[in-house]
């Protein structure tokens, strides 16, 4: 066999291997789909009290009534900038975990929020990370309430004690949003699959070129 012919054969072999590898890499991510995860997010804030929240349809649960697992998930979320993600099966019974498609059935935004949230009533002086509720809203709300009166006639500046009381009330009721969803696109699971797809495309392209220059 002449050296040139040998080189062409080698090129075509490499090309065929690359095409086969590329096709396999295009298929593999479909065979191993990304596993959903359970999201726990405490960033959704509320300034309402228990009565108002229950009237809106939220389930209000005292922190002490939660299972140790649920308490742990809540505390981790608070410590982790309001986010905590765990695998399916590692959630807590007290939390609802609707899927994306289940939530898509709600047309009303608030109904969707309620279906995927519960409100945790934090105990006073508890050894918990600080609540991430909108505490600054207390000042505005106190001013609104004192300026409103019956007919908007009474106008008094709210005292610091009143504002602090409202702050405590806001901090007591913490909304935690829980749902089942795909892991974030930037997560390892997605990045691995994306990389496989892209390498697969390059494999088919390069292998195809090597094969076509041989024949």
């Amino acid at each position: 066999m002449s050296p040139e012919l040998g080189s062409l054969t080698r090129r075509s072999k490499i090309g065929a291997v690359l095409v086969a590898l590329g096709i396999a890499l295009l298929i593999v991510p479909s065979l191993a789909p990304v596993q959903p995860v359970l999201y726990h997010e405490t960033n959704t804030g509320t300034t309402e009290n228990e009565t108002m929240l229950e009237r809106q349809g939220y389930t209000v649960v005292e922190y002490e009534e939660l299972s140790p697992r649920a308490q742990g998930l809540y505390r981790t979320a608070l410590r982790n900038d309001g986010h905590n993600t765990v695998r399916v099966g590692q959630g807590a019974e007290a939390f609802p975990y609707p899927s994306e498609s289940e939530l898509a059935e709600y047309e009303d935004y608030q109904q969707r929020e309620i279906a995927s949230s519960i409100v945790i009533e934090r105990p006073e002086n508890a050894d918990l990370p600080p609540a991430d509720e909108p505490l600054r809203a207390a000042e505005y709300r106190a001013r609104d309430e004192s300026e409103g009166g019956e007919n908007g006639e009474t106008r008094t500046t709210p005292s610091e004690a009143e504002i602090e009381q409202l702050r405590q009330q806001i901090a007591t009721y913490d909304v935690i949003n829980t749902r089942t969803g795909e892991p974030p696109l930037g997560g390892t699971q997605h990045l691995l699959r994306m990389a496989a797809l892209l390498v697969g495309v390059v494999g088919v392209g390069t292998g195809g070129y090597l094969l076509s220059t041989h024949s």
């Binding site: 479909s30 789909p33 898509a104 797809l197 892209l198 088919v204 070129y209 076509s212």
Partner: protein, 279 residues
């Protein structure tokens, strides 16, 4: 003839590089597209509707670039005399070039769809096959139209510079003129009809004028495969318009528009090539 040209073209490194690049883009779109709180099927459908928008602008460029020099290049280099010296007629050369370039463009389109589908399926675990097959068929038709136009242009001119100018001009007239806001065929038709001729406004007439473009036919034709809520709004309607569009603006008419754009440029191009002085 077609086989020889196809073999020659597929050895091009730049062709494979472009195909790979487009495949990477479509695989990335296929995998990373995420519809907000939608079912997996809806998510894949929306991803393909985005792909259609991309191909609407990109595919004409690919088809024109792949074909505009096919015959003009042979004429400029003198290679056409060699092609015709062996027992090949001008028709053989013309048809061979068309079939070969059509094969290349169609292979590229299929590759893009395969990578997008692989990405979409890997992400969502579902693939609406009827939608994908329908869109693929419409996209192949759309690409074929621009190959037909490019081959016609290429056969009608004898120099590279003129072939480039004609290809760029085709893209401007048949694509950009239908998407650039403020300078659209719809507005030109409206201006001629109302201002120049002083007639009553007739939106259906202006829509019909717009429908002669392969781009509009592609947008309208792909609507046949999408669910109602995902269909593109292609034609303008009056604020008080009710009921269906007239028959000549229906989605099925897009197939007729494609057929005309496939046949007429090829016929004109062939007639020009047959009567051209190749000396």
């Amino acid at each position: 003839m077609a086989k020889k040209d196809f073999r020659g073209a597929r050895r091009s490194r730049s062709l494979w590089a472009v195909a790979t690049l487009l495949g990477l883009v479509t695989a990335l779109i296929g995998y990373s597209y995420e519809a907000y709180q939608a079912t997996p099927t809806t998510s894949v459908q929306r991803m393909f509707s985005q792909l259609v928008l991309l191909l609407m602008l990109l595919l004409p460029i690919v088809a024109l670039v792949a074909s505009y020099m096919s015959i003009a290049g042979e004429r400029e280099s003198g290679g056409v005399k060699f092609l015709l010296s062996v027992p090949n007629t001008r028709r053989d050369v013309f048809v061979g070039k068309f079939v070969s370039r059509l094969g290349i463009v169609c292979a590229g389109v299929v590759f893009m769809f395969v990578t997008a589908a692989a990405g979409g399926y890997a992400r969502n675990g579902t693939l609406p096959l009827t939608l994908v097959a329908g869109l693929l068929a419409m996209t192949l038709l759309y690409g074929s139209v621009f190959v037909s136009i490019a081959i016609a242009v290429s056969s009608a001119v004898a120099a590279r510079s003129r072939a480039i100018a004609a290809a760029v001009g085709s893209y401007f007239v048949l694509v950009l003129l239908f998407v650039v806001p403020g300078l659209s065929v719809f507005m030109i038709a409206q201006w001629v009809h109302r201002t120049l001729l002083g007639m009553e406004a007739n939106l259906d007439l202006y829509n019909a004028v717009t429908y002669v473009s392969p781009l509009t036919a592609y947008r309208k034709g792909t609507n046949m495969f999408f669910p109602d809520e995902m269909e593109q709004r292609v034609f303008q309607r009056a604020a008080d318009a009710s009921g269906d569009l007239p028959v000549y603006l229906s989605e099925e008419v897009s197939l007729l528009v494609f057929a005309v754009w496939l046949v007429v440029p090829l016929a004109v191009g062939y007639l020009r090539f047959r009567g051209a002085d190749l000396q």
